[in-house]
């Protein structure tokens, strides 16, 4: 019995290296980050050294060791969005939230991320707040969207 509340996740996946990424996805989804102490348990379950789990966890951008904010704002930086001014949206978001991309506000409320294309190119530029997509986005709409109006 593990101490970190991931027993059910581990039980769903066979104890092999090939389950590693799927297990990390499930942990990330539950905790909004990978709690450091869970990684050794994952390594034990999959029968690989901890360094291997750490290697995988740091290679893929889907995983993070710091907890994501309650609201995750993702700015798509795909090519279609880029040619339609995604950079201006990114700058506005950094200004509105007061944090750089890849960061979380100190109150833990917002995370700002940039992603390389979400496949919603026909409605570029796109901003995704949690699971909701917002297309043909204008920088001025950000404040309202994030509930940070003056």
């Amino acid at each position: 019995m593990g101490a970190f509340g991931i027993d059910d996740i581990l039980a769903r996946h066979v104890g092999q290296e090939q389950s590693l990424i799927e297990i990390l996805h499930d942990i990330q989804l539950r905790f909004r980050h990978l709690p450091q102490e869970t990684l050794a348990e994952v390594a034990g379950h999959c029968g690989v050294p901890l360094s291997r789990v750490y290697s995988v966890a740091t290679f893929y951008t889907a995983f993070s060791f710091t907890k994501k904010g309650d609201t995750v704002c993702r700015i798509c930086m795909g090519t279609a969005c880029h040619v339609k001014g995604a950079q201006l949206i990114r700058e506005e978001a950094e200004k509105v939230l007061g944090i750089g991309a890849g960061r979380t506000t100190s109150d833990g409320k917002y995370s700002l991320e940039v992603v390389n294309c979400v496949g919603a190119c026909a409605m570029a530029p796109v901003v995704i707040v949690n699971e909701a997509y917002h297309g043909k986005f204008k920088p001025v709409e950000l404040k309202k969207l994030l509930g940070r109006g003056e």
Partner: protein, 617 residues
């Protein structure tokens, strides 16, 4: 219920009969339409239908389809079989839509309006965006509910599989695919039949089949659309391929940025198993094959086949040298065939309609159709499927409606970060595997990003190299350290700090990337730079020598000024995010250069051409 070779045709005939009597309201609930409230529209229409006493009573059906590929017009509602096509539908319009469904009178406000002819068009058959397309890979996209296997079966789904398992040998299947001339749609354009044959011949009892649904090219989303809208088509192609190569286990690798595709594929796999189309003893023939979904972790490099295989194995996605082919030693070091989504969805067509039918489409070297994602500065952003060999000009100007706002075409970027930018002079090029490669770009997975005179080609090159720096796995020196150097130089040029010898250094870096990199990501990483230097060299020189970005993108190299052509309409002042434009109504406006951030909003809104881009000096 598990189907067999004997029961499946009976079921299909019954479903066809039932569905032929139906009238359907189809609401697009793909990622794009959902973003604009597609699900709410569907719910509102459902409520209206039941209020009107039509719900559930045959012959009316409300279908939530997958992505049509024309997200900018979404949410899209269509009536079948009539083909009535409503765009940008809001839930409040449900009542009018249901009334129109009953009366046959179209709701004119919701119809698509052709900006060229200023006409409203009732059915999608008459809209150029659709009428000029030949949708075979996307045959079911937007026409069925992706979560109902019956709707797929009724549209001749699993008929090819039935035919294959009714007496064709694996050898027959491979020959048919070879004769069709099917080339991989993922980028390389390798002959699919040949790949299958090598794998079939390879030694070993355990073989794997992989569907690459990673679609990492920014600006391309045809595979997302297909996986979301027609998941069974992908499965059927895979099952046939597995039979041909002798695989019992397969994987679909889907990028995690596509949650809806993962959901629909998962549902499709479950229902295919329930119906005896996947798993043990498929259709009672003794052939067994099963599929699992592997989610990506947000790494572009995993679109490269050897990196993708490492990712399925639970490792970091670092590519391997391909001196030994995957068909001999691939996933878990076993013989493996990997094709992408669009390649697999063509397979049932080839087996059902025959190699000759398929080979009649397209050009000599590139058979069949190809789905393109035409986005950027065009009037109609969306997915366009046409026979291979259509010219870029036709695709961009006829099907996608040309460049908006009266601006001029500058370049089209094809093939994602591995491809290049092509200028107007090359617009007559036919779009097929070989022509684009010869021109210094590549077809890639089919993303076409159209750019106008407001896009800076140096900035575009910098954008792609920045993208690749973030996405390089970091294993080999040229890609990891070479891209970093290349980005530094390009970033410097866009900031007005370019040097005389920068173009020579760029040339050297492109050489070592192309010659020295380990995988296709690095080997092709120079293309966005090489192609822009080749076709837009004067723009680079203007940045370096004159410190001027004529597109008004590189902020250190331009400023905006309002000329006497200003009518004082105040549009620019309203659009300015930092409120640095002053002027009274009907008076020439002035930009306060000390506050201006050079975002170009004023330029883009001005209807009189009164805002000009000038050198910052």
């Amino acid at each position: 219920m598990k189907q067999t070779l004997a029961t499946l045709p009976v079921l299909r005939a019954k479903l066809k009969e039932e569905r032929s009597k139906l009238r359907c309201i189809m609401v697009c609930c793909g990622t794009g339409c959902r973003a604009r409230g597609g699900m709410q529209v569907a719910d509102a229409i459902r409520d209206e239908l039941s209020a009107a006493g039509l719900a559930g009573s045959v012959p009316v059906e409300l279908t939530r389809t997958g992505c049509h590929g024309w997200c900018e017009q979404g949410p899209i509602v269509t009536f079948e079989p009539e083909g009535v096509f409503y765009t940008q539908v809001k839930p409040e319009k449900a009542k009018e839509i249901v009334a129109s469904f009953q009366s046959g009178e179209p709701v004119s406000k919701l119809l698509f309006r052709d900006t060229k002819t200023k006409r409203s068009i009732v059915t999608y058959h008459e809209i150029p965006f659709y009428s000029k397309q030949t949708r075979w890979a996307m045959r079911n996209v937007g026409r069925i509910s992706p979560t109902e296997i019956g709707q797929y079966i009724a549209r001749d789904g699993y008929k090819a599989l039935e035919k294959v398992l009714s007496g064709m040998t694996p050898e027959d299947v491979i020959s048919e695919v070879e004769k069709a001339g099917l080339r991989g749609r993922g980028g390389g354009g390798f002959d699919a039949g040949r790949k299958w044959r090598s794998c079939r011949k390879a030694k070993g009892d355990v073989k794997y089949l992989i569907c690459n649904g990673d679609e990492g090219d920014p600006g391309a989303f045809m595979d997302r659309s297909i996986m979301e809208a027609d998941p069974h088509g992908v499965l059927e192609g895979m099952i046939i391929a597995a039979y041909a190569i002798g695989a019992r286990e397969g994987f679909i690798y889907v990028r995690q940025e596509y949650p809806l595709a993962v959901e629909h594929l998962g549902m499709a796999i479950a229902s295919a198993r329930e119906n005896g189309l996947l798993g043990e003893n498929i259709l009672g023939t003794g052939f067994s094959f099963d599929i699992r979904i592997a989610r990506g972790g947000g790494a572009f490099v995993c679109g490269e086949s050897s990196a993708l295989m490492r990712s399925i194995e639970g490792k970091p996605g670092e590519p391997r040298a391909k001196y030994v082919h995957a068909t001999d030693r691939g996933l878990f070091d076993r013989p493996t065939v990997l094709n992408n989504v669009e390649t697999f969805i063509n397979v049932p067509l080839i087996l059902d309609r025959g190699a000759a039918w398929f080979a009649a489409l397209g050009t000599d070297g590139s058979k069949g159709t190809k789905a393109f994602s035409v986005v950027g500065k065009v009037n109609h952003n969306g997915l366009i499927e046409v026979p291979m060999g259509m010219s870029l000009k036709e695709l961009i100007f006829d099907v996608a409606g040309g460049i908006p706002k009266g601006r001029t075409f500058k370049a089209v970027q094809t093939g994602g970060p591995s491809g290049g930018c092509l200028p107007e002079a090359l617009l007559d090029l036919p779009v097929d595997f070989d022509s684009l490669t010869e021109a210094g770009s590549m077809m890639g997975s089919g993303g076409l990003i159209v750019m106008d005179d407001r896009n800076c080609m140096v900035d575009v090159a910098r954008y792609f190299i920045h993208f690749l720096v973030e996405e390089s796995c970091g294993k080999c020196v040229p890609c990891r350290d070479g891209l970093k150097q290349l980005l530094e130089i390009l970033a410097r040029i866009t900031k007005g700090q370019g040097r005389e010898d920068d173009l020579d250094k760029i040339d050297s870096l492109c050489f070592v990337l192309t010659e020295g990199s380990l995988c296709a990501l690095g080997k092709s990483a120079a293309n966005p730079v090489l192609s822009t230097v080749r076709h837009f060299r004067e723009e680079y020189e203007q940045h370096i020598k004159d410190h001027f970005c004529r597109a008004g993108v590189c902020r250190d190299l331009c400023r905006y000024e309002i000329t006497d052509a200003c009518t004082g309409c105040t549009l620019c002042a309203k659009a300015c995010p930092v409120e640095c434009i002053a002027g009274d109504r009907k008076q020439v406006h002035v930009i306060d250069q000390s506050k201006c951030t050079r975002c170009g909003s004023c330029f883009d809104v001005c209807n009189f051409g009164a805002v000009e881009v000038r050198s910052a000096r």
